[in-house]
């Protein structure tokens, strides 16, 4: 009797392990923190790209409505790719704050002069520490941040696509 119980117990354990490993095969191995909704510390100071003026980043955000933040660099090829979509967002009257990641101000300005400037304001992040405050892993990344709670509502890792545009517009309206 106890032998049979042992046997059945072992069998059951085995089947459970089998099912879990089977599911494990189909779980994506890629790390992503896209779903994490952390809070941003608004007391950070940053330098503006165009005026060299140092400001507190809370000044850039509208307290009552969500804002879009985009991390980019002139040396990053996917950023060049997504730029047209940022311009479209601008045409939709959406307020975008740019964070210029580890870039030379000259190259960054040239980039915006030649491709157009979708940002209402661009701040610089020479050492990459501000991007870490936003939980970024690389460039480009785009965030929708609530002005009320300072929380990240939505995060896009990698370049934006045309499908994202409508989603962003809807999200902004929902959270307004």
């Amino acid at each position: 009797m106890s032998k049979n119980i042992k046997f059945l117990g072992l069998l059951l354990t085995l089947i459970i392990i089998f099912i879990i490993l089977l599911k494990g095969l189909n779980v994506s191995k890629d790390y992503s923190n896209e779903k994490l909704k952390s809070k941003i510390d608004f007391s950070l100071n940053a330098k503006k790209l165009f005026s060299d003026e140092i400001i507190n980043i809370s000044d850039l955000f509208d307290k009552n409505s969500p804002s879009v933040v985009n991390i980019w660099a002139s040396w990053c090829a996917p950023c060049r790719e997504e730029h047209q979509f940022l311009m479209k967002l601008k045409d939709m009257n959406i307020n975008i704050i740019g964070i210029n990641y580890k870039d030379s101000p000259k190259n960054a300005k040239n980039f915006l002069y030649s491709l157009g400037n979708p940002y209402s304001e661009v701040i610089t992040d020479n050492d990459g520490t501000k991007s870490i405050e936003f939980g970024a892993i690389g460039v480009p990344e785009t965030f929708i941040i609530s002005g009320k709670t300072n929380e990240i509502i939505k995060k896009y890792i990698g370049p934006l696509t045309s499908e994202n545009l409508i989603e962003i517009k809807n999200l902004l309206e929902e959270n307004a």
Binding site: K3, L11, L14, F18, I20, L21, G24, L25, K29, Y31
Partner: protein, 626 residues
């Protein structure tokens, strides 16, 4: 041409396998006294076919036959011949073919080597081994055929990851596989002996050779992997608790336990069921290793092709094998003649049980640490990392009782030992080790609680194992392996305690003062070598009264574009000076990492001792009485 040859010989081998499975199953149920001659014949045909298949793949690599997809994906005409050959098993398809080759060769050797064994036992071993072989054959033919052809034929291959172009890594997989596959023989043989009811001291003597052999190969295989990580990865460590490393360590713990248990079975004819359980577990762990590594279910430094269909196949196959062995175990348990003997607390039997106890604990830490993240992610979606701190925290405290136990366990007598009268030698050795530890520990500022007993005990054990060479009656192979083990622990602990390093950005001409040494970057030379561009730096390290030069290198490979850092290491008997540099974005500056690693070479040497002890035991036929 070689593609067809390789492919079709695999099909012939599969037919042979199917034939042998049926034939051995039928014969095992009849009462034949002798093994049909056909078995040796068909098994040799199968082995030859698989060998042909393997060497036609080697040939395709050597002549860079890019009509073969595996060669195209993993080789390049500019590669040195040695790495073309080792490229054969440096990829998924080829490595499986190597597994298969070793599987069939081992079965063949097993048949030649067990003439005196019972026929039914031999037939059943063939049956189980052929089930494994056919599983691998079907796996290769269905999901990982190394002989897929390409048309039109590309003119150049995609190259092999340069990080894999290293002599230690070229021979590391074959050696490791010899260990893994050896455990398959132990698995098949123990199931066979369970059914045929011949498990006992005679069988133990016969299977011990295979246990020892697999264990030696596994030990050396792990060592080579570790040496590769140390010299090639350029992070200055030799063990990272990376899942792929852990996967080779798990069967090692289990096999070490089995190695000891099988001796009890041989000398005392007990622990029968436990021996079978360990045999099954060891092989399951070897197979799970293949599953975990090849399915891409793990997050690891080591990159392997991810293909869920492969993972699905190995997983199902693994579970069929485990299920089969559980069924066999439970339905044949009554065949084990229960000669339960009393185990006394002071006896070699108990000592070996305690050894097994610790081995199983170490195994459980590594196993849980490796697969827990997978389970957690499936069950509730959270992704966690289980890194070195976890393993250190759980393993190191348990080393203390383990070291104490190991200092007297091996010298206990069988059946029942007496508490000896107070032994002054032991006291002297202990006092000496206290003294040595005191001298060592005063040299380091850092003193955290556990390092003191650990150092004292490891040195004590080292001295005891040296003493045992002169007084103990145990076998010389055991003395060597145990001495190797205590040396390994001592070296790892001292290495961990006294390692020191700095990490700094330097440009040519810069100096850094570190630990009474001056490290100067003199120059960086750029030149083109075979298949890469080389940046060779020249450093000068000046000590109080001596100086030496180090030439680390950065290699930029074009096919595929990869940058590797080759550390330069100055090795002496006492310490390694390890220097590695990287290119930074800012022009002119290099990131330099200098590490002082004491007793590094002794970590390798002691592991060789451990393996050598085992090898000696395989070779020596009429081993010891104790």
């Amino acid at each position: 041409m070689s593609n067809y040859l390789g492919n079709y010989s695999l099909y012939i081998a599969l037919i042979a396998s199917v034939y042998l499975i049926f034939k051995s199953y039928l014969d095992a149920n009849s009462e034949n006294k002798y093994l049909d001659k056909n078995f040796i014949l068909i098994t040799s045909i199968q082995t030859i076919m698989i060998t042909v298949s393997f060497f036609s793949l080697v040939a395709a690599f050597v002549i860079s036959d890019f009509s073969n997809e595996t060669v195209f994906n993993n080789s390049h005409t500019l590669k040195p011949l040695f790495y073309k050959v080792s490229g054969t098993w440096g990829n998924h398809e080829g490595s499986l073919l190597l597994w298969l080759l070793v599987l069939s060769i081992f079965l063949f050797i097993f048949l030649l080597n067990s003439r005196s064994q019972d026929t039914k036992y031999k037939l059943l071993t063939i049956l189980f081994q052929q089930i494994i072989i056919s599983g691998f054959l079907i796996f290769i033919l269905l999901t990982s055929n190394p002989f897929k052809t390409l048309y039109p034929i590309p003119s150049e291959g995609l190259g092999l990851n340069p990080i894999l172009q290293d002599p230690a890594l070229a021979i590391h997989p074959p050696i490791l596989y010899l260990g893994y596959v050896g455990t398959s023989i132990i698995f098949s043989a123990s199931l066979a002996s369970m059914i045929s009811g011949n498990i006992g001291d005679k069988w133990a003597r016969h299977i011990k050779k295979w246990v020892l052999l697999s264990w030696v190969f596994l030990t050396i295989g792990i060592l080579l992997g570790s040496i590769w990580a140390y010299y090639e990865l350029g992070w200055g460590g030799f063990w990272f608790w990376d899942p792929v490393e852990n996967v080779s360590l798990m069967p090692w713990f289990c096999l070490t336990a089995l190695l000891h248990t099988v001796i009890v079975l041989q000398k005392r004819n007990s622990f029968k069921e436990w021996t079978i359980i360990l045999s099954i577990t060891t092989f399951s762990l070897s197979m799970s290793g293949t599953f975990l590594v090849r399915s891409g279910i793990l997050n690891s430094i080591h990159t392997f092709a991810n293909d869920p269909s492969r993972g699905l196949f190995i997983l199902s196959f693994l579970f069929i094998l485990i299920l089969m062995s559980i069924l066999i175990f439970f339905f044949n348990q009554n065949k084990i003649s229960n000669t339960a003997k009393e185990n006394f607390i002071l006896s070699k039997e108990t000592a070996i049980l305690v050894n097994n106890w610790f081995m199983m604990f170490f195994l459980s830490v590594v196993l849980v640490g490796t697969i827990y993240p997978i389970f957690l992610e499936v069950l509730n979606g959270s992704k966690i990392s289980v890194g070195p701190p976890f393993y250190h925290n759980l393993l190191i405290p348990f080393l203390i009782p383990f070291l104490i136990f190991m200092s007297f366990g091996p010298s206990l007598k069988w059946i029942k030992d007496k508490l000896k009268k107070f032994n002054y030698n032991i006291l002297i050795i202990f006092l000496v080790s206290l003294l040595i530890s005191y001298v060592i520990l005063t040299k380091t500022e850092n003193s955290f609680l556990l390092s003191i007993p650990l150092i004292v005990l490891s040195i004590y054990l080292l001295l005891v194992t040296i003493k045992d060479f002169f007084v103990s009656r145990s076998s010389i192979s055991q003395k060597i392996s145990h001495f190797g083990f205590s040396l390994l622990i001592t070296s790892i602990l001292l290495n961990g305690l006294f390692s020191n390093e700095f990490n700094s950005n330097m440009k040519v001409g810069d100096e850094r003062i570190f630990d009474e040494k001056v490290v100067k970057l003199k120059e960086v030379n750029v030149k083109d070598v075979d298949n890469y561009k080389s940046l060779k730096a020249s450093f000068e390290v000046t000590n109080k009264n001596s100086s030496f030069a180090l030439y680390p290198e950065v290699r930029i490979y074009q096919q595929p574009l990869t940058i590797t850092s080759e550390a330069d290491i100055k090795t002496t008997l006492f310490s390694d000076n390890f220097l590695v540099f990287n290119i930074l974005k800012d022009d002119g500056y290099y990131n330099v990492r200098y590490q002082y690693k004491p007793l590094m070479i002794w970590i390798w040497i002691s592991t060789i001792f451990i393996g050598f002890g085992g090898l000696l035991s395989v070779i020596r036929k009429n081993e010891q009485k104790y």
